[in-house]
């Protein structure tokens, strides 16, 4: 067994520098690496490029890094919940690359799988296709999208073991397994870290080979963005 455990978040973030590219897992606030984001927001690293489906909300998630203007560029698919984000983008302080969600997911997966580029129908005929090669397959136009890589990928899982194997819960899985594959250094934080051998190998979602560092997250707020309920009959 190759032991991937680091003892604290500072050790997990060793090597993080200004102007790096990070992948950050999560969809909305579900499944975001809360501890890594909190630690990054206290470090003096700036000029970051962040690849993440969303940009958090004003006071949580990647919103914390936006507030300190640590992010130079965001690569996302949907950024609607963050007023500070919108302000920085419209004023030109923040560079933003919006890409279709499926292409974002596949571009991460492709990087991790050694596929430098692929053709997809998503975005053909739109702004997204500008400057991209178009090819017709089965009578339908497709555009060329390239793999996305990152210096660090920060992901969050429900359970993990000391070998770096990960199990996710619910819809908190989302981009985490794909970004784990794509990061040069993947830091996985988990709610519960167990010794290797305790997780059923049949039930593991992300094999530990994709994870370089694993740690138990110190605390999780797990904020709900849109609390929607129904009345009991």
């Amino acid at each position: 067994m190759i032991n991937k455990v680091v003892s604290n978040i500072n050790e997990a973030l060793e090597g993080v520098e200004s102007n790096m590219t990070f992948m950050v897992g999560g969809f909305g606030l579900s499944g975001i690496p809360e501890n890594a984001i909190a630690a990054l927001s206290k470090m003096d690293v700036f000029g970051l490029t962040c690849i993440s489906n969303n940009a958090g909300v004003d006071d949580f998630g990647l919103g914390l890094l936006l507030q300190r203007k640590q992010i130079k560029k965001m690569i996302s698919s949907y950024v609607g919940e963050n007023a500070e984000f919108e302000r920085q983008m419209l004023s030109g302080e923040l560079e933003v690359d919006l890409i279709p969600q499926g292409s974002l997911a596949e571009r991460c997966r492709a990087a991790g799988a050694g596929i430098p580029a692929f053709f997809t129908p998503a975005g053909y005929g739109t702004e997204v296709a500008e400057g991209k090669e178009v090819r017709e397959y089965n009578g339908k136009p497709h555009i060329l999208e390239t793999a996305l890589t990152a210096d660090f990928a920060f992901v969050k899982a429900w359970k993990g073991d000391t070998a770096g194997n990960l199990i996710f819960k619910g819809t908190a899985r989302n981009f985490n397994p794909l970004m784990a594959m794509a990061g040069k250094i993947t830091v996985a934080e988990v709610e519960e870290l167990v010794p290797a051998g305790e997780l059923d190998p049949n039930q593991i979602h992300t094999p530990g080979i994709f994870v370089q560092r694993i740690l138990q997250g110190e605390k999780y707020e797990k904020r709900i963005e849109q609390r929607t309920i129904r009345k009991r009959e």
Binding site: T120, Y124, I224
Partner: protein
């Protein structure tokens, strides 16, 4: 004239038995409340769930279980959870048969615009571009006109588009329109709304053949 719930109710009549359906944010989400008797549907949400159920009871909300609108949800028997690449494999690979989504504009050749107003609103396309590029059947649910009273049914979209030549049907508060290769065909009127009123609220030309029936909800 229909309200938002009635638009959803009319769209629910388009649901086919034993199909997988993706519902967008807003009016489309309401479609799940009106599934006709005897029709079995599984709802997919692109953030990674198939077999999505209703909202949870108070106290049962789980931050690890949300839909693409970030709302707390539940899962039904037979549900499955997966990552975003698998989710979009279902969409791009045309395993999800129907997509219902909102729009700011739809043009007579089936183009849709719903992700950006240059210089004003930039929220992003989320999964919409992948969805409209792939699903066999795409139905738009929206109000017929915008807040300024201008038609959202156009000869050509003025806003940046989300997808080309993809919308099959549009259900608005005034009418049901089909996108044909000759343009919009008026299929049904909302209760109490005349063909004349629909024509006046529509910037694109309408193909009107014979008597146009009133919707039955």
């Amino acid at each position: 004239m229909l309200d938002k719930n009635q638009i959803a109710q009319r769209i629910a009549q388009e649901l086919e038995h034993n199909t997988y359906v993706n519902l967008g944010i807003g009016i489309p989400t309401l479609v799940a409340n009106y599934i006709p008797q005897g029709i079995d549907i599984e709802f997919q949400s692109e953030n990674g769930v198939l077999g999505m159920g209703p909202f949870p009871f108070e106290g049962d909300e789980d931050p690890d279980l949300i839909n693409a609108g970030k709302q707390t949800i539940t899962t039904l028997d037979g549900a499955v959870l997966f990552d975003s690449a698998t989710s979009f494999a279902m969409i791009r690979g045309q395993h999800v048969q129907l997509t219902v989504l909102g729009a700011m504009e739809v043009s007579e050749n089936g183009d849709i615009a719903n992700w950006k107003i240059p210089g004003k609103m930039v929220k992003g396309m989320g999964g919409a571009m992948d969805l409209v590029a792939s699903a066999d059947n795409i139905i738009v649910a929206m109000m017929h006109t915008n807040r300024a009273g201008e038609s959202k049914i156009l000869k050509q979209c003025t806003l940046p588009i989300t997808g080309v030549n993809c919308v099959k049907k549009v259900v608005t508060n005034l009418a049901v329109l089909e996108v044909t290769n000759k343009g919009f065909k008026l299929l049904e009127r909302a209760p109490g709304v005349s063909v004349e009123e629909i024509k006046n609220a529509t910037a694109a030309d309408l193909i009107i053949e014979g008597e146009i029936p009133e919707m039955v909800l």
